[in-house]
Symmetry: D2
Subunit: 303 residues, 4 copies
């Protein structure tokens, strides 16, 4: 049985690892902030890995990025100013920029080296979105930036690495940070954050606590979930606002996506929109009964 | 990095394997028909593995078995006679028997040794359902049995191993077999079959061809899909009948499940019912455009 | 790439693991003292694994057992009373009993369950030696036994598991234990102990400290080394006595083995005897410069 | 159990793989001739991998290269003209050049890209030997070169990749090739070739056939063997000449190495010299009884 070669192994749960045959390693090293790998596999194409965790892959990043961006954008009637925290690959930026209403997308990613590697090696992720005149790319800590900027946003999209202990995003999932982000929202503003794994085996790791933490600050909250093959499980996202979310039927979703976007989406349509909003019983039970609140002094960490 | 110990490795896709740390191996050997392992892991509890493929685990088998059984049963107004093809662990039998209407569940599983191992080592799977007086357990090839029996059924549930080349179920997913099964349905009868992986990376392996094959024989067809952690991906099921399916709203589903069942389900409720029926865009596109028909002379095989 | 199935993974060095495809798991569980697995692989045949470490395999155990037993036995002119500490598989016992001079082999292995499993599953290891009338099998801690017995031995053979932290043999490699064992030697008596890995990457783990520790207690000391495929590296053994070792040429070794033994050996002959005594430069340098002494209060542990 | 990261997996035997945690991948790609990886690991340092097989590592390449070069060089009284076939890393060249007698070392390695990668990434392997004025580096197929050159050599050293089916060296281990190489030897000339794994589990793969094949062409033949940690087993080398080998005692070896070399060796001294010449019983039996002869029309291949 000849398995010779390079394999990327990722721990998905305690006691369960995924082994992915690697076709080529484009980059393997460390930036000032994190360990970075850009790998290529027959199965997933080009992928970005930060601190040992797959961030996105050429094959299925559209599922993650479309789900992160569009349901939140549809909660706002006319999003013009959008803030993106993290999002190094440029996939989130790409999805934001295809909204015709967007006038400026301010993307704040701490790690300029990661962004440079993504621009070089992941052209099918960003599709040139870094060169869009509406893009305002800044390399700074998202928390520091939001604390200091006088700007306000219609939609804030948090596309951050998972809250790993000692990782770059450990304090970007706390009540204090969310309060600070909320202060940068225009009236009617919407915030969405990627919220970690949402499958049966790991939905309590951070999905439920992020939801509960955001729920202490905003009047309206909902979660969506989707299966991302590269993450080996369901993935959660949390959307909040102080303004009530619009009622969006499957037909409405189709209509709005067609009206607002300059392209046709690959994953999302009316029924997929419905699917991602139909949370599973264990997810709903988990979100309802969660009591933990992430605080700077006691943040949640992914296992 | 001490990874010493027994690991169960399963190839999920070409080039991607899952490594599961094994706590104990209860059984490892071969029956007259297949390679069998009963293993126990911290993550999944006790699991049945046939020919190297995880069939079900203590931790999440309820997701698979509830999804296989109940949506199909709800398509029939009063299922009394139920046929189960395969289903060695007894989980499908267990779910069938909790329908108050059921008078007899005829389970035909080829491999008496597998069933004996499951009765011994997987008590939390079958929960004693093999001892229910309504159970009629037969060890024979399901195809031969259906060909020879004069009996008719309200619901036929096919809980078979995947169609592996040279495997025991290679000819239990073909047009000829389905025609033969259809002939054993009462008027208004419903057939459901597990239909293999339904996630983005593998939905075309057999899910779409099973759907297309069944579509050539029945007037009404639908598919449902669900994320099964132990299978590392979404999983598909196909339901067919010559009688139109009832319209079932989320509330209807909740009501019917409460009315018909002698227990509360762990996974399935109204919204989860809705979720599993909301197929994703790539799944719908795949089912719609599939042209292959599985025939005895040219059956589909899982990779 | 289908690697599906059970694999035994063993950490050989930090950052290097060996993956062995398992054909069958005969036993997997825990005794009162340790985790035990009896596995079968195409490559190695039946193998005993204790606390995650391969102890011996059907394919190559003769290399280990012949090297442990015979060079030490040849250091004694007429070994009649032999003590074996550990040695659960019965391979050491088997080699001892083929010496015509041996009148009694007292084997003290703590774990009766391991010995019972070996008797059942490893018939090609022990070859019936447990039933030899000269065998005196006792299940007790070897240290306690040697402390309490009034008996004296011509050769003491320590075939113990490696000194793992918290393992059963942690205090069977210390100066105090060796002093106690020395007190049970007849005049002219010889002691040998398996001494752990002796290859370039790990010879300092315990090989050199065991040698140095024994050197504080005995007038004469030598080490031998051999490549054991199942251990993935060279393996060391230390032989000590207060009586000078005989000069044994290659021809002498051949002659003595033929004269003393009731069978022909598979691995050992004159040239192999010479090979195992020709320590490599790094081994000699390591043994010469080692300063650590294993004490009960500060024993060496394998990584 | 967090094993996340890049691992290099190498199949050592059918059913046994070694997993090495990789610290950094310097290069991963393909040249005109083969797949090449230059990786760095905590355990082995920088390593060259060709077609999935580890060629040498910073940590232990000295064992392999000293054993390949010096025993053969000591078989010649005054080696001035040396030919190296293969040897891309420059380690063989380095060892050859430290012989004071050497006037020219002609190294013929097919793959200029591999040599360039080694010069860039493996400075501790070649230690500048490519820049030695006595080095004559040529990129051509070694067989074609030897066929066409009018030059004669005192020692020919074949440091080729293993004979993999379809690999670059499949026809560099055959009787026809060896006849051709023999024709390029000066009177008293010596040829040595790396001869593949020599451990109990794999010594018959190519070690014995290479020995038997060379034995048909030369009057004098001997093999040496050594444990190379990075190869996970013992490794064999075959030395031939039409002139009788000198008798070299341990003391002679020490003396000659000191007299002839411009540096002190790390692995080889008198006793290590003796060890590598003391072949194990199974190796001697295998070499003696081998009947296969590698021919161009039916070459041996490594598994």
């Amino acid at each position: 049985m000849d398995m010779s070669g390079n394999w990327f192994i990722e721990s998905v749960y305690t006691d369960l690892n995924v082994m992915l045959k690697v076709r080529e390693v484009f980059y393997s090293g460390s930036t000032a902030y994190q360990k970075v790998e850009v790998i290529d596999s027959e199965l997933f194409g080009r992928s970005l890995v930060l601190d040992g965790k797959t961030q996105s892959t050429e094959r299925d990043e559209h599922i993650y990025h479309e789900t992160l961006v569009h349901p939140a954008m549809l909660c706002h009637p006319d999003p013009k100013q959008v803030f993106i925290g993290g999002g190094g690959e440029g996939g989130t930026l790409r999805e934001v920029l295809c909204h015709n209403s967007v006038e400026m997308a301010t993307m704040v990613d701490l790690d300029s080296e990661v962004v440079a590697l993504c621009r070089q090696y992941l052209p099918n992720h960003h599709l040139g979105s870094f060169d869009d005149p509406r893009t305002n790319l800044i390399h700074e800590d998202a928390r520091a930036y939001l604390q200091n900027t006088p700007d306000l946003y219609d939609v804030i999209i948090l596309d951050l690495v998972d809250p790993l202990e000692g990782g770059t995003a450990a304090l970007l999932y706390t009540q204090e940070f969310y309060a600070l982000a909320k202060a940068r929202l225009n009236s009617g503003g919407v915030l969405v954050t990627q919220s970690g794994p949402a499958g049966l085996l790991s939905f309590k790791e951070c999905f439920t606590t992020i939801f509960n933490t955001l729920g202490t600050l905003f009047d309206h909250i909902k979660a969506v979930q989707v299966h991302v093959p590269a993450f080996q499980t369901l993935w959660g996202f949390t959307i909040v606002s102080d303004t009530a979310f619009p009622e969006v039927s499957e037909d409405d979703a189709e209509f709005e996506l067609a009206r607002r976007l300059s392209k046709k989406l690959k994953y999302l349509d009316g029924v997929s929109y419905s699917n991602m909003h139909s949370l599973l019983k264990f997810q709903r039970d988990g979100l309802r009964t969660e009591k933990r609140i992430n605080k700077d002094s006691d943040p949640v960490f992914m296992i």
